[in-house]
Amino acid sequence: MNNSAIRNWLGFSTLALMLAALFMVFDYVPPEAEQGIAQLIFYFHVPLAWVAFASFGLVAIAGIFYLWLGDRLWDDLGYAAAETGMVFCTLVIVTGSIWAKPIWGTWWTWDSRLTTTFILWLMYGGYLMLRASADDTPQTARFAAVLGVVAALDVPIVIASVRLWRTIHPAVLVTKQGGHGLEDPRMVATLLVSLAAFTALWAWLLWLRFKQLRTRSRMRALAVRIAFASAAASDGR
């Protein structure tokens, strides 16, 4: 498959899955009894969180491969993953806040998962600021790769420390004596379709940004070659 085929395929599957997910969330799934309609945002919040964390994992993996192999491809992948991850991570915090206001009675609380997500958001905000404040050179790519790896290594310790600090976040929903909170099979189905839809959206955005950055890298390399060639030509004259 060539680039535009992959792009179209990802785009159309995102569209189809997203329409299905919207239909299921707003028309098919029964809202949870205690929380009512506010609970429906859960079907966006959880898939968003999953893709946000997946992107940050991808930043670290791309960083390791870049430091190991030195191919610009990995740097472009890491950059694309960090940018998309940042967007989704912001949305996780926003959707979480919208849910927390009616249910917890507050927009924000220093619960362990909220704090962990926020710290992750800060770390990758720093990563993007680093990329913005340095020229696009192999050196910057190495810096970003090291930072991506270091930040990912830090995540388990952040989770451990913040959990020890405090936690009130619901495990799935409000856990009632061992149940996982999703009593109705329609809830599970909706969550799965929604997960697929957001994963497709993520893959699509990631692909678009990645190909764009690849093109930019190749154009830079070409510009360098042209400069060398014209310098050689003027030397020969």
């Binding site: 710290i119 680093l130 830090d154």
Partner: protein, 224 residues
């Protein structure tokens, strides 16, 4: 003389003759503590939590300044290039820079603890001895992180601003553990009762000393 000792001795001699870093660190620690005394109005009430928190704020800000200074000295006249051209491997260079940063931080922390006791109406007693291992663990982790990251931020536009933005979120676990353990130590709790917090700090230290040791070559090298 090994490369490690040579670089460390150079940095210490530079510091002994100029006194720049430690003085700046001490001055900044003092100012942070003064600001927090007013901000928290802690002078009237004997607040151990506020004292522990203030101590760590002072440590983070002073540590950041120290890391920036250490790199600035190498950046002037491209002195870092000389170090890179010497037959010294980057990991050893990292270890030497880390040791120097740690020594400067230790001096500043001793000063900060004395000031904390005075400013927050505490006593010079055994609880300060229990504070020592906690502060040492925090300083090791922070120096390792700041030494690694300042090699990155030192060579970007607006690098001095970028260092705290990168370092503070990553330092959060050690900060949480350090503040909690310090407050407990000041309240007279034995070290054994804060095992979980100490474990987190040890994990952080091991991770970042190792990461810095392995990754330093990727951030300190020049473009090929």
């Amino acid at each position: 003389m090994s490369g490690f000792a040579a670089v460390l001795r150079k940095d210490l001699r530079l510091e002994l003759r100029s006194g720049e870093s430690t003085l700046a660190l001490l001055a900044l620690s003092m100012l942070v503590l003064v600001v927090l005394v007013f901000a928290l109005d802690a002078a009237r009430v004997r607040s151990l939590d506020a004292a522990a928190g203030a101590l760590w704020v002072a440590m983070v800000f002073a540590g950041m300044l120290g890391a920036n200074r250490a790199l600035l000295a190498e950046r002037d006249n491209s002195a870092i290039r000389g170090l890179l051209l010497s037959p010294l491997d980057p990991a050893t260079l990292f270890a030497a820079k880390l040791a120097a940063a740690l020594i400067f931080m230790a001096v500043a922390e001793v000063g900060a603890v004395i000031l904390m006791v005075l400013f927050f109406n505490l006593d010079f007693d055994a609880s300060l001895a229990r504070l020592a291992p906690i502060l040492a663990l925090g300083a090791i982790g922070f120096s390792a992180l700041a030494t690694l990251l300042s090699a990155i931020t030192g060579r970007t536009r607006g690098g001095d601003m970028l260092l705290p933005i990168l370092a503070v979120p990553i330092f959060v676990p050690a900060l949480i553990a350090g503040v909690k353990a310090s407050a407990a130590a000041l309240a007279g709790a034995p070290l054994a009762s804060m095992g979980d917090w100490l474990k987190i700090m040890i994990a952080f230290d091991v991770l970042f000393v190792t990461a810095g040791y392995l990754l330093f070559e990727h951030v300190v090298g020049e473009d090929g």
